[in-house]
């Protein structure tokens, strides 16, 4: 419990540091959202100056940071110039969409990876193992971007899946079941792209740590005792193989979120990624800061969950306490 508090405090500190870092970058950036207005002869200098003053852009950096902190406390996270609304209400639905996408992809990828990895390790060197070995090195060399584009091409050519977005135009009129089906149809391709991106690394790790577990004396003893193969694999060996895999959960989160950014951009899934890119192109600084903070929060929270799982799975850590 004390460990949990310490981790939470550490996370808050890191978030704080990230926010200061982003603000320092904002300060270094040349120009702001109102630059283009200044070029427009129909808008007077005074109007632009007024607008800048209203949004506090004419204040020095520390004052702006204090203003921003106050709006964070209100849950607003600053103000978006392009959307003319506080950032918070803009950000949360987007973050939720990203969470739904990455969450379901992670779950699916791990289920598949465990199934494939365990079978490969159990029949090491046989043809399914070698086939998966070749496939994983092939997929490992295929970038997320290409996978996402390829799947989009499939959708375009076959017409079997919607080509982007999260819901169909008439979504509001659908029944509850129809809504679910519509969402699922839209989610298939982005989730598949992310799963293909994650799978090779996960399969390799599951296979390696299962091989280590199966080679250990306890597995040999269990086999000698006549414990059925399936039970040995999934009940005993997988359990012993779990700890390094659980630390991989936290470790692979960063690349998962980066992959999600690309997939969202290609398939126009309304998550954090497209919001961030639009905000960058429009110089909507507070949205950029907000999206970066949200992604950091995801990463930190995911790492914490991974560590807690590790804590639950590995009795050695429970006894000694995490350092």
């Amino acid at each position: 419990m004390r460990y949990l508090w310490r981790r939470a405090a550490h996370a808050v500190l890191l978030l704080f540091a990230v926010s200061v870092f982003s603000f320092a970058l904002v300060e270094l950036a040349p120009g702001d959202y109102f630059d283009e207005m200044r070029l427009n002869p129909q808008i007077s200098r005074d109007t632009v100056a007024d607008l800048r003053a209203r949004y506090g852009l004419d204040r020095p950096l520390p004052a702006r940071y204090a203003l921003w902190l106050r709006s964070v406390a209100r849950g607003e996270l600053g103000y978006s110039f392009a959307y003319a609304s506080p950032v918070g209400p803009l950000l949360w639905p987007r973050a939720l969409h990203t969470l739904a996408l990455t969450g379901s992809a992670t779950l699916l990828a791990w289920l598949l990876a465990i199934a494939i990895g365990v079978q490969s390790a159990a029949r090491q060197g046989e043809w399914p193992d070698r086939l998966w070995g070749a496939l994983t090195s092939g997929f490992l060399a295929t970038p997320d971007l290409l996978v996402a584009l390829g799947l989009l091409l499939v959708a375009l050519r076959t017409g079997a899946f919607p080509t982007g977005g999260m819901v169909s135009p008439g979504f509001g009129e659908l029944s509850a079941f129809g809504k679910l089906r519509d969402l699922a149809a839209h989610a298939v391709l982005p989730v598949a792209a992310l799963v293909v991106g994650m799978l090779p690394v996960l399969v390799r790790q599951v296979r390696a740590s299962m091989l280590a577990a199966l080679a250990s004396p306890f597995a040999r003893a269990a086999r000698a005792h006549g414990i059925p193969r399936r039970r040995l694999l999934y009940r005993h060996a997988l359990r012993a193989a779990a700890p390094p895999l659980l630390s991989l959960v936290g470790f692979s989160l960063g690349s998962l979120l980066s992959g999600a950014l690309v997939v969202e951009a290609v398939m126009s899934w309304p998550g954090l990624g497209p919001l961030l890119i639009e905000a960058i192109l429009a110089r909507d600084v507070y949205v950029v800061v907000g999206a970066v903070m949200a992604s950091t929060l995801f990463l930190l929270a995911g790492n914490l969950v991974a560590d807690l799982l590790l804590y639950a799975a590995d009795p050695r850590i429970r006894r000694e306490g995490l350092s």
Binding site: L14, S22, L25, P30, S258, L281, V285, V292, S295, T296
Partner: protein, 342 residues
């Protein structure tokens, strides 16, 4: 031995790819910016060996393409005149390795025919020429960014590991900050606060700098680990006992030990950085037109009709797969090599 072989195969494949993109000026029939507005999205030009009378020709030839009236992107061959393919022919001027001016191209045909061996893009620019030139931009962006991040990582990592205490603490806290952000988000965020409309050359430099500066934390952590162990080695302590200065110790004893780790790390990082450049340029935040890069060439695929109709527009993306495959094989071979040595 098989490992040595795989290492050699991967290394030679990479050398061949890099030489090809370095020699883009010579190998490409056209300059990457040269446009033929009459021929947007022209399909790959067919090299012909048999003429209309059914005679076999030793020198391959092509026919000029003519746009069909009324339909976009549909062409027919004008068979009235054959254009022989010329070898070592003068064309657009370029610079060998950016220095020596030259005009000789490996292949070419006379105007008004065009030699689009891999088709043309939406502005009628030769896809093969852009592919070769763009490959140079993308692959060398990766290499330069990797040397930058490894350089910074090496410097900060050795200093942190060698001196320990508050230096170590400061560097590692900073590394934690950089590692707390998902890396593509961090990349985009840093890019966000730099001017958007830059000249192509400057945009290239900015992309390389951003990728290299943002990812110093991972190599720094690795090198720090090596340096921590290295400074406790007996021969290092002995050298210190003989009065060797810190700089000498780092240079002669700590850095060489970190070097092996760094070489393997480079083989891991370069493909990631190439992909980072491609992704940023694809999203419109990286290398900008008219300078081609595999990323901004792929950006054409964001239009559904282009993606679905013109397969040759996919080439820069498909080329990433063998490049990454070779880098991964190289990294694997280096890793098992260092395991054997250790």
């Amino acid at each position: 031995m098989t490992n040595e072989r795989r290492f050699a195969a991967a290394a030679w494949a990479l050398v061949a790819i890099h030489v090809a993109v370095l020699g883009a000026g010579f190998l490409a029939p056209y300059a990457p910016t040269s446009q033929e507005r009459r021929l947007p999205f022209a399909p790959p030009t067919r090299l012909r060996f048999v003429d209309d009378q059914g005679r076999l020709q030793l020198r391959p030839f092509v026919y000029a393409l003519v746009a069909q009236e009324g339909s976009f992107g549909a062409y027919r061959e004008d068979r009235s005149r054959a254009f022989p393919v010329r070898f070592f022919t003068p064309g657009a001027s370029y610079r060998i390795a950016g220095l020596v001016p030259a005009r000789i191209h490996l292949l070419g045909v006379d105007e008004p025919a065009r030699l689009f061996l891999l088709g043309s893009d939406g502005l009628g620019r030769d896809q093969l020429s852009r592919f070769l030139h763009g490959g140079g931009v993308s692959l060398f962006a990766g290499l330069l960014a990797a040397s930058l991040s490894l350089g910074i990582g090496m410097a900060l990592g050795t200093v942190a590991g060698f001196y320990g205490r508050w230096v170590d603490a400061a560097v590692m806290r900073a590394a934690e900050l950089f590692l707390a952000l998902p890396w593509l988000y961090l990349l985009c965020a840093v890019r966000a606060f730099l001017p958007l409309d830059l000249s192509p050359g400057l945009a290239f430099a900015v992309v390389v700098a951003v990728i290299g500066l943002v990812d110093w934390a991972r190599p720094a952590r690795l090198v720090r680990g090596v340096a921590l162990v290295a400074r406790e080695r007996d021969f290092v302590l002995a050298a210190r006992g003989f009065g060797a200065s810190d700089l000498y110790l780092i240079r002669r004893h700590v850095a060489p030990q970190a070097f092996g780790v760094l070489v393997t790390q480079a083989a891991v990082l370069v493909p990631q950085y190439v992909l980072a450049e491609v992704t940023l340029s694809f999203l419109g935040l990286g290398v900008s037109e008219p300078l081609p890069s595999w990323g901004n060439m792929l950006a054409a695929l964001r239009q559904y009709p282009v993606m679905a109709s013109y397969w040759w527009m996919w080439l820069p993306g498909l080329a990433l797969v063998p490049v990454f495959f070779a880098y991964h094989a190289l990294a694997d071979a280096l890793r098992s090599r260092s395991r054997v040595l250790a």
